[in-house]
Amino acid sequence: MGEEISLEHRFQAYVDADNKVEPKDWMPEKYRKTMIRQISQHAHSEVVGMLPEANWITRAPSLRSKLILLAKVQDEGGHGLYLYSAAETLGISREELLDDLLAGRAKYSSIFNYPTLSWADMGAVGWLVDGAAIANQVMLCRTSYGPYARAMVRICKEESFHQRQGYEIMMHLAAGTPDQKAMAQDALNRWWWPSLMMFGPPDDQSPNTAQSMAWRIKRKTNDELRQEFVDKTVPQVEFLGLQVPDSDLKWNEARGHYDFGPIDWEEFFQVVGGNGPCNKERLAARQKAHDDGMWVREAALAHAKKRAAASAASNDLKTSAA
């Protein structure tokens, strides 16, 4: 017991000095569990996040926008893979991670339980949802767990394209016909508040924040990141000539930040708890993709075994000939 405590002290001093923890290093069991939970939730979010956008691939308004959307959705799949690999370095298997998602035991970002109703939503999702994700992920590039930090560096490089392509869609619609501009405003109205919720509950109601800050898993609190996002995004809304759907929003000269209205946390907890508009649809789509892909996985494995057997047999022949 005494030894465990001194190991924990050493671990704390190690992360306090901004050192990175690598897979084979000793770490407190709770750190390992927290990292597995956080990285796998992040991976699930990337994978489930493909669904609301895949919804528009066949209806993209031009070949150019279709190519871009395909590339973006492919990136999200790639991001899921980087993150699953990072989680696996902590001793959990890919199968267990996927089982947890499909059985509804694992969480993913609640934002993906909202529907994408119009093409403008592809703009709003790229600009706001990916924008909020970037704010979080830029911070996580400096997280204390090495494999997670490295995955984040790679993801952040790719994510910036996602946000810019989304904003470009919004710029075109906002400068278009009155109907197109109204479509952009409608998407902004629906995605603004859920995007602010993406940063998680306020600091005084976030049970994990203190420990995650102490272990340098997180480097900024939910409220700090949310404020940064609002400050950065409001001028982008103004440039589009659109309105933030918040009558309390105003610049606070004394604070040097925007003040904004209260967030409906009841809605957030309802969506996290499984009662959002699309929770069931998203999991059903994942389950269907998993089931439909089963024969491919089985065939690939059977093929690999057959080839391995053939190559072993031909090696035996060579050996006996010699």
Binding site: E22, Q74, G78, L81, Y82, S93, E96, A300, H303
Partner: protein, 97 residues
């Protein structure tokens, strides 16, 4: 923390970004065989011209030093400053050496 025997094995992916540079570890992925691992590595790790050559290696083939051996393995090189060029004082008039 179990892995079923039918789970695809894990592969480590190394990418050479351009000729003249070494292959560098990019990450890992699951694939049923080497050929598929190579194809998947192309899709997962080189979507933006990151590479001109890829190596994939079964993760189970990697032999790694243990963090517990860090002291005995690497400390001995910390007390040999004479292995570094800056250890030696050469007068400026000798020129660059």
């Amino acid at each position: 923390m179990s892995q079923s025997p039918d789970a695809w094995p894990l592969w480590e992916v190394f990418v050479r970004s351009k000729n003249g540079l070494a292959h560098k570890h990019s990450g890992s992925l699951h694939a049923p065989d080497a050929e598929t691992a190579l194809k998947s590595a192309r899709d997962v790790y080189t979507r933006r011209s990151e590479g001109v050559s890829i190596w994939v290696i079964p993760s189970s083939a990697v032999v790694a030093s243990s963090p517990d051996e860090r002291e005995p393995l690497f400390a001995p090189s910390d007390d040999k400053p004479y292995r570094h060029p800056t250890f030696y004082d050469i007068p400026d008039e000798v020129g660059h050496m």
